[in-house]
Each structure stands twice: as C-alpha cells, then as structure tokens.
C-alpha cells in the first residue's frame, strides 16, 4: 500500500521543533534531527550549521531501509533502535511510530545511557504529534497546495 502524502503544517512543525530543542538540551547532544523514511529532512536542532543535513537525512533513510530489509529476512518487524560508535562522535537512531526517524548525534559530553533515556521520552511525545498530523493530512480538504497552480507556473520554472 502506498503511504499517504507527507504534509507538514506550521503548528505541528513548531511542536516537533520544540521536542528536538529540548532533546538537545536534556541529552547534552550535539545535533538532533528528524527524517521521514523516504529521506526528507523534517526538523533539525543543535550545532548543525557545519553539517550537510540533507545528505545525512538521505543516508539515514537508506540505512534504516537496509536494516529494515535485514529485519524482514529475519522475520522481525523492524529494528527500532541503532547505535553507531565513533572515535569522537556517536549516532543514536530511533524509529518513531514506524514512520519517521529520530537521530541524535552526541560526543563525550553525553553518554549512551543518557541519550537512550531522553530519546525514550521524546519518542513518546513525537509519536503523539505525528499521529495527530497524520489524521489532519487524511481529513478531506487537506489537499496539495499545488492544486491551484497552472501549467504556466510549471513551464516558467523551466524557462532558461
């Protein structure tokens, strides 16, 4: 079954951003970001200015997809949590509500135990927000903002 289109509204975006900001503080993290399973970046918080977040988002989704493929072969539903340990930085990856991915990058100012604890709380909050967002998107009348554009608008985009 094809998933419904992902739409993000201002209200939910602010709620999600607030959860990310709080998680950065509570977990002493360097960066927190949220990606949908197709690799689209949804929100970012922390010291991300020097990071290529678009590429990180796409690779995270690829990673989750590959791990999901392995889970299927082992007849597991999914591997909801992943941890990658580096020399200076570590990445903790958590699937939220089977739909989006919460990524925490942290260094020696934090610890895996603290990150896991704080991620668990953020996971529950994000799950609620995405669930209500999904309901909103499926309501009648929540169509694409592109419904009103004209063929000329599209053509103009390609005028060299």
């Amino acid at each position: 079954m094809v998933e419904p289109q992902m739409i993000m509204y201002e209200e939910e975006f602010n709620q999600i951003q607030a959860v990310c900001d709080k998680l950065v503080r509570d977990a002493n993290a360097v960066v927190v970001f949220i990606v949908d399973k197709n690799g689209q970046l949804i929100a970012t918080s922390g010291e991300y200015k020097h990071l290529d977040t678009t590429s990180l988002a796409s690779l995270t989704a690829g990673n989750i997809a590959a791990t999901g493929g392995m889970a299927k072969l082992l007849k597991e539903n999914e591997f909801a949590t992943q941890f990658h340990e580096g020399e200076r930085q570590n990445i903790h990856i958590q699937i939220v509500g089977q739909r989006v991915i919460l990524v925490v990058i942290f260094d020696d100012r934090s610890s895996l135990g603290l990150v896991r604890l704080r991620v668990r709380k953020a996971n529950a909050e994000l799950d609620k927000i995405f669930e209500s967002l999904l309901k909103k998107v499926q309501e009648p009348g929540a169509g694409s903002p592109f419904a009103e554009i004209t063929d000329d608008d599209i053509d103009n985009l390609f005028n060299d």
């Binding site: 289109q5 201002e10 690779l59 694409s144 903002p145 592109f146 419904a147």
Partner: protein
Amino acid sequence: MSFVNYSSREINCKIVYYGPGLCGKTTNLQYIYNRTNPDAKGKMISLATETERTLFFDFLPLSLGEIRGFKTRFHLYTVPGQVFYDASRKLILKGVDGVVFVADSQIDRIEANLESFENLRYNLMEQGYDLDRVPYVIQYNKRDLPNIASVEELRSLLNPGSIPDFEAVATTGEGVFDTLKSVAKFVLTELKRGG
C-alpha cells in the same frame, strides 16, 4: 510520495533513475551535478564499490526555483543496476514520485534493458505502485556508440505507451537536462492533479 512543508514553504519530490547495469544512470547524475549552479545543488553522494559500480545509490539534491511561494526541491537517486542488487533497488523505490528509465542503446544490451524494465514494473508493484500511473520518462542513452539499435526499435520494445522519450549521450550531456526537465514537469503536473 512528495513531502509538502508549509512551515518552511518547501515541496520535496523524489526522482529515481532506473536501468540495467552500466547504462549511464550515475553518469546522468554526475553531468547534472557538474553543470548546476552551486546555489541550486547539495553534495552528490555515491555509495559505490571500489571499481565505482553503484553499490546502494547515488543521491543528488537539486532546487528548481519557486512556484507560488513554495521552493521546489528534487532529490535525484540512482539504483544499482546489476541484477543481484535487487533488494537495494526495492528500497530506493520507496516513496518515489517520478522515474527515469535509462536504456542502453547498444544492440547487445537489449535483453538487459527489457529485464530491467520488467524488474522496475515488478518492484513498483510490490510497493503498491502501477508503472502506468507513475510519472516516468525513457532515455535512450549511448547514442554515440557504433553498435546501437534504432530508436524505432527501442521504442517498440520499451515504450509501447508512447510516453516522453529522449535520445542521449550522458557522457557529453546530450539529452540529460531534457530528460530531467521532462520528468520534473511530469511530477509537478501530477502533484497539481493531487496525485
């Protein structure tokens, strides 16, 4: 499946370049990357083997400009073409908005084209998509090589439905942007229709 973000006023779409091994999918993306204004593109990521064959995917984010105040961003992906990477190909098709099928025009690759085309249809079906309802275009690549099939022949084998198709030489860039523009336009038109 596109992602519309009202908060950042962005719309993101995913385009996948599909086709048999060594048909020139990565070369298409490399040409686009090299010829695009730095403001309009992100970094190109290639997950490749040591011999530069695509292992998982190539990824290139592109911005096309604004429509009615919404920034349009396209994420271009390639799949690994070699037959045994089928599991990876399936993963990359997830959430696709548009497909470019890159065919290798060489006569001895006709069977590989057909096999890959069938594989595309099957893998899309597994994800719940019908190829005939997904925006897609065909590119006949390597038109500069000596042992190539005629466009009419390729068309009769790969494009019975007469969807937009293009002749190309991806190494020199011929036809590369025409193909991209066509599929991008197709995707946006589909979004307009609420697809």
